[in-house]
């Protein structure tokens, strides 16, 4: 029963073209580990350097978003923080996709919707202009990174991005972003 259940789970992942799947607490060490495995897999597949870099960049930005912003986190002695998230990397219709999901609170969800709808509506030149403006401006107060990660993702996702929110209890939302390269 045990192996059969897990095989069903694996078949479910394979049916969606998923090559990598991680659900759990995300740390910078896990980012590094999965990132190295992803690089090796892309080397074996012999993807061109540009596509490899784009996939890797999007993977890093998405993982760091979860590590920094997931509302589902555990604190230990104010120094160790663990963020919960879900990551999949797969292939469908000739494109590679990177999907990342995490829990967000309502205020963050509103901010994400504004940022992402703006980014999604921009063409190449528009994204470049916003990228520069954001890099030169002051880092937003809520941002632990540069606040430029989603613009980077949109610029590198040659097949576009999708995002969505599903309601959870207590006003929280389940945020998903999927980028196609």
């Amino acid at each position: 029963m045990l192996a059969k259940d897990m095989l069903e789970f694996r078949k479910h992942l394979e049916a969606q073209g998923i090559l990598f799947c991680y659900s759990g607490y995300m740390t910078e060490d896990i980012l590094l580990g999965i990132g190295n495995a992803l690089k090796k897999k892309m080397d074996i597949q012999d993807l061109d350097a540009k596509k490899k870099r784009a996939i890797f960049s999007i993977f890093v930005e998405q993982m760091q978003n979860v590590i920094r912003y997931s509302a589902e986190r555990e604190m230990h002695k104010e120094t160790t923080e663990l963020s919960y998230g879900l990551l999949t990397v797969g292939e469908a219709r000739g494109k590679v996709y990177v999907t990342c999901c995490n829990v967000v609170n309502a205020a963050d969800a509103e901010r994400l919707k504004i940022t992402l709808s703006r980014v999604k509506g921009l063409d190449k030149d528009g994204l470049k202009a916003l990228w520069k403006e954001t890099l030169k401006g002051d880092t937003p107060e809520f941002s632990k990174g540069a606040g430029v990660g989603f613009i980077d993702i949109a610029r590198l996702a040659t097949g576009g991005i999708d995002y969505d929110f599903a309601p959870l209890e207590d006003g929280l939302l389940f945020f998903t972003i999927k980028a196609y390269i």
Binding site: A49, R53, V60, L135, V148, I151
Partner: protein, 128 residues
């Protein structure tokens, strides 16, 4: 001033700064866990040293394979510092080396370089 030499790691670039000859190199991949922790002291040392220069020739080389968005913010600040150093009477040569087939990295170099008004900028394609 003593040279600043930091070996590359899996996720942070090699730093090779010669403050006497004014040759500077940042090379490798950059997606450190905390960009401010990694780059804070490096940028501080450059700012301090560049403030003392007058009529000097500065050669600054970027040879990056990959950097994340937090690093991009640091790079933008660094380009602004280099341009300001050139504006006050120094010759600043900035070289951006990228792998031949990686035109994303070439484009990023162009985007950083096009804002330089006083420093000289050169894109160099290297065989991967």
């Amino acid at each position: 001033m003593e040279p600043m030499l930091i070996d590359a790691t899996e996720r942070s670039p090699e730093i090779s700064f010669d403050f006497v000859a004014n040759n500077y190199l940042i090379r490798g991949e950059s997606y450190p866990e905390d960009v401010n922790e990694f780059f804070g002291k490096i940028i501080e040392a450059l700012e301090k040293h560049f403030a003392t220069l007058d009529g000097a020739v500065v050669n600054f080389t970027f040879e990056l394979i990959y950097f994340n968005s937090s690093t991009a913010k640091i790079l933008m600040g660094l380009f602004e510092l280099l341009d300001a150093t050139a504006a006050k009477g120094n010759t600043v040569n900035v070289a951006w080396k990228h792998e031949e087939e990686d035109d994303n990295m070439q484009e990023l170099g162009e985007e950083f370089g096009e804002d330089l008004e006083h420093a000289k900028f050169q894109l160099i394609s290297i065989e991967s």
